[in-house]
Symmetry: D2
Subunit: 294 residues, 4 copies
């Protein structure tokens, strides 16, 4: 299968863009994406040029799924995410809310990290396991066109480390065809994506997409081999935590036969929380399947 070219770069989850591919439910796709910095940082001496490109997180798409209609869902099985140029890049972003603690004077460093044998060479002395994920994955809403900056019920710039190979992301369909986009691959990322710039890489992503008619998801869900996760996007983060747990509870009620108050109690004891980029409010509430599939 020929990979989908990432060009021209796109920076919105738009229902108006010309489809790059049109697939049937069950199809496998290989999709190339530029990095979140639009490829501006390839060498240590490169600097971010926001005049040339003020926006971040170019995505590839839209991919139209034949027969998808509002109220359906797309199940995006992420099979693999591979680096396209054997390296990833980051730089020291503005400290924003950290300024109060660290001062404003962060130096303008660019860091280029080779990726070899499953390891990211972050520095001479520090290696980080290669743990790829997609920062951006989403469908096109029918009201408003989100840029690739925020996250929302359509997915978008979730920056959740669980959007990774081996997992399936379920996305609501708002417009006919679904209009799926992805990009902003990270070779690794911590909780909260503190500086807003993870280990960004151009990447080749292989997905398989199933259409699930009438799923009526309120917002994305993620399934790993061992966990169920509901995603919510809200600020402040305590609200996103509450909302993601509530959505997980309502999902367990609808699909797994759990009484809502029983799973409310269970999640109090065994639920886990994963935080995306902290200023966007994307949160995943998780539960291990072993507790649910009784």
């Amino acid at each position: 299968m020929n990979p989908l070219s990432p060009l021209p770069l796109q920076y919105e989850f738009s229902r108006h863009a010309t489809p790059r591919a049109e697939i049937d439910s069950g199809a496998r796709l290989v999709i190339d994406s530029e990095d979140a910095l639009s490829g501006q940082l390839r060498k240590p001496e490169d600097r971010r040029d926001k005049k040339a490109m003020p926006w971040s997180n170019p995505v590839n798409g839209p991919i139209v799924v034949r027969g998808a209609k509002p109220g359906d869902a797309l199940a995006v099985h992420i099979e693999s995410i591979e680096p396209l140029i054997g390296q990833c890049a980051t730089y020291t972003g503005a400290p924003r809310m950290l300024t109060e603690w660290l001062g404003p004077d962060c130096p303008p460093g660019t860091r280029i990290c080779p990726i070899r044998d499953g390891v990211i060479e972050w520095s001479d002395k520090v290696s980080i396991p290669y743990a790829p994920m997609l920062g951006c994955l989403g469908t096109a809403p029918d009201w408003g066109v989100p840029s690739t900056g925020p996250a929302g019920n359509h997915g978008g710039n979730l920056d959740l480390i669980e959007v990774c190979p081996g997992n399936t992301v379920y996305l609501p369909v708002f417009v006919p065809g679904g209009y799926l986009y992805l990009g902003d691959a990270h070779a690794a990322q911590g909780h909260g994506e503190l500086s807003a710039t993870a280990l960004e890489m151009p990447a080749r992503t292989t997905i398989r997409v199933d259409l699930i008619p009438g799923a009526n998801l309120p917002s994305p869900r993620i399934e790993s081999p061992t966990e169920l996760m509901a995603v919510a996007v809200a600020l402040p983060l305590e609200r996103a935590i509450v909302e993601s747990y509530a959505k997980l509870i309502l999902w367990l009620e609808a699909d797994y036969g759990w009484n809502r108050w029983e799973s409310y109690d269970l999640l109090t004891q065994v639920g886990q929380i994963s935080i995306g980029y902290y200023t966007t409010g994307a949160v995943a509430a998780k539960v291990a399947k072993k507790y649910i599939l009784r």
Copy 2:
């Protein structure tokens, strides 16, 4: 060593209370604590009686550490937390912020769970690994007397699952002697402690306490065999996340020779976040020691 009796129950981190024990740096202590429900739920038919006891989370203490003075720190090594009566208890708490999603009508259930062979028997079909922790651990501030409800720079009701056997919690000393308290043991707890009531148990906790002169901690820190963690307490939670990461960065700068912007970048890629009871704003930012001790 005789365990410290939990009676009479105390509900404040007070610098005014009569010391229960006075120890030297390095001493080991065995401390019994009543559960967070003041022992009101021992059988399934028991109900929470807030008229009889409106407060939660009785703690045992204060323990005075000889020679401790403002600006020092206490290193509390948690050696073990054992159930005192072979069971834990929880009940379906008011849904608070979840009411918007789940409705207000949660039934008043009490759940008593036996603890056997490292397993909590949550229901006929669901077992949860015994993973004990202390909800409350803290010293007495010099300005104000916190109840056992909130968390703060003194520790308090942190509800962080990392306050567990095998880990060391570092607490600031604000008054001569430190005035250490602990209690609110949980047999297990999820991130965010959704319903506010974990698997509460009367417990026997064994700690060893070292005095660290002149440590000048801004707020608690936690060290596990493999991780360093800085704790912050703030709302909204995005602020606590920023503050805990910032405190971790400043700690790495002061004690481990890391440039602040370099660890800012590193934590963006490998930092992890743990959330305590979501309405109190207690958060731990973590980093694996393998990245730091180079």
Copy 3:
């Protein structure tokens, strides 16, 4: 001058829509707008039909200002806002965050209020002074297309009571021509717009628009005969308050010769805060001109 027809209704601040009018700087325009409920509530027995129209706040536009280019600003002088059908409408919206306090069971009431002689007849016994304002006023961004739900640096669904006759709203220009939209007129509204549904009315709005080249506004500003106001949009609201005060301070520094720390001190003593719809995070920080124009 012929009023601009509100039809077809538009629900986005889009740079792609076909202009409804093209004007020169200094021109006066009369613009009709449907109410926020798309006209679904005209009689007491009418009910909101979200199947027929799931979106809120239709706006009229875009209006293109000749010569406007990115970095310029539009000064929108609001001369008058008049009811088009002699009445306004509201209904009891879902209590959302209030559910925790009031329960979920609000009755589905529609309220139609005549507007006569500067008074809104809210009920038999309660009259409210007619105090019209625009809930939505904004330009089209160059990255993303906001729906008429949120507010942002482009303006949008600000729901600030200061967007009213006699005041001038300054809006950033992001795309050539500016692409100005307005609508969502309210006959009156309280701080925070608690239920999300104010006294909504189809309205005739008269504005005069001046082009201000190179203004480089970070977000909207408002000027009344007696006050200067900077607008910020952020959640949580304490962040919006800080950001709006900071933007006011930087404005006073740039245009009025005030040292930033001096105005920081002054605003501590005399600054005022106005809150828009509480879930969108729109806030105006104000200062009386009498303190500034010394």
Copy 4:
């Protein structure tokens, strides 16, 4: 009547302190209080010395009201607040959350402002109307001893401009006698108290206190000649806004015969919000009596 001496200064709302006065319901009291800076800034060359006094907002009290018992309320009628030394003081506080916008480098200025003829001479060119208020007013809780830093259901450091002469503040009683404290008088203050340091003054406050048996207030209320206000303390501020409006609605239901959903709708149109010191989360939701007393 002899004024109550402010010495020794107190920095907690403690139920343990020795009463300074014991009064009957209906009594009038004259109470002197030191300024929030503990009197450290009397001349322009004075600097804040946090080593000598790390705490802020000394209060005078406790005042015991004979017969007051838990569940009752104190109605504190504020008759007057007069400057004790003819001046007030402020200084440029750390910019905290504003650092991100203004940088960290605020100069350490002290400003001493004479108060004459109802006017505060803030600078050569700027005069501010004398609009006195109490930053701190509260009773002693039964669980925990709040410092004079935070606000809460007991009142405390509310920093609401409506705690002013002519208004009545209703406070819950938690312990026998009520244990009333007040202080932290401001000659004027803006919404949000941006720098945390208003125009602080030693003051003479005259109050009259009525005991209201069985009032069972959840948190403070304020009544002006023309308005009813419910106070809530929560972060983030949108939560405080919701909570204060909800408490106002439940008050109107309990005492004024308003259906809760009707006042929910009314407050959407005519409610007003006042913000205290923005980091404490104190908010007052207001409604004009003319709408309620029909």
